[in-house]
């Protein structure tokens, strides 16, 4: 059997819980091999095409969601991969982690109304610089969110930088694709649902594309992102 063309690493921190969903969703294509990598490892044991930091409650959300990930051995390997230009996506708690380890700007605060929100939301693709978004054809995706700490926050200066550098990847929108306060479920500054680093290879987003990817899911919009990075 020949080696699969693409290896996608899925990081499993203590308390991560979406790793199997991500493995199933990202591993659908025959040419893709997904591998779970414990956060206790300090490398990915070989080249990887892309890295997924899944959702969950890593380290029990102690201190702040994602904050403890800074102490994990795999985090150094994440820094190196980000520097090398490897496509990286952080989903939900993965987004919180990427912000807390400073691979992405900003931070995720408790939702504006303090409640856990679990529902589908519209997402407007604002920038396709991330390899996870480069091949996404529709401008609006329908993907669920499930979070209590999803309110993206950054200073006014950082927001201006994000806009100037085309780092705002995804914004919350309504069914018609309109961005508004009413369509913003958690009070995120700038209606932001996802941002990239300056280089564009690291993407963080609160919604779960892996929950709209399989035949038994209510929709398959998440597959646009999966197919984009696996192309």
């Amino acid at each position: 059997m020949s080696d699969p063309a693409l290896r996608i690493a899925i990081i499993d921190f203590h308390g991560t819980l979406c790793e199997r969903d991500c493995a199933a969703a990202f591993g659908q294509a025959a040419h893709v091999e997904t591998m779970l990598v414990s956060s206790e490892k300090d490398s990915f044991s070989g080249p990887v095409h892309a890295i997924v930091v899944p959702g969950g409650f890593s380290y029990g959300d102690y201190i702040r969601p994602g904050a403890m990930a800074r102490t994990a051995p795999i985090t150094r390997a994440l820094y190196a991969a980000a520097d090398a230009g490897t496509p990286i996506i952080g989903i939900c708690n993965g987004f919180q982690i990427l912000c807390e380890i400073r691979l992405l700007p900003g931070v995720l605060l408790k939702n504006r109304d303090g409640r856990f929100i679990c529902r589908e939301t519209g997402l407007r693709v604002q920038s396709r610089r991330s390899p996870f978004l480069a091949g996404v054809k529709p401008d609006v995706l329908r993907v669920p969110i499930a979070h209590k700490y999803g309110q993206y926050y950054c200073s006014a200066e950082t927001l201006a930088e994000l806009q100037a550098n085309d780092q705002i990847a995804l914004c919350y929108c309504d069914d018609e694709g309109q961005i508004s306060d009413a369509a913003n479920p958690n009070g995120s500054v700038g209606h932001i649902a996802g941002v990239t680093n300056k280089a564009g290879n690291v993407l963080g987003m609160m919604p779960h594309p892996e929950r709209r990817a399989m035949p038994w899911h209510a929709g398959k919009d998440g597959n646009w992102m999966i197919e984009s990075v696996c192309a």
């Binding site: 904050a67 102490t71 303090g114």
Partner: protein, 80 residues
């Protein structure tokens, strides 16, 4: 050496927990509270063989890198 790190949310950053608590207190009849904030205190106690300079350096690193997020927090360090 023993250090106290106090972490508080910066002015202007929304704190839904404290807003909710203030609203519930008001509803239950508590009057006169203009603003309600909270501060987290972490106490770092070092081994005896760590000298004060090194202990303070480590305490500052831990405070700035893990205990607080500079995007939303102000923090202070005190010797106990």
């Amino acid at each position: 050496m023993k250090y106290s790190v106090q972490v508080k949310i910066k002015d202007g950053v929304l704190d839904p927990e404290m807003e909710t608590l203030q609203r519930l207190l008001r509803r239950s009849g508590v009057k006169g509270i203009r603003q309600l904030t909270h501060t987290q205190q972490f106490v770092l106690e070092f081994d005896d063989q760590v000298d004060a300079t090194e202990a303070e350096r480590v305490a500052r690193t831990v405070a700035g890198d893990v205990l607080a997020n500079p995007e939303i927090h102000d923090w202070t360090l005190d010797v106990l």
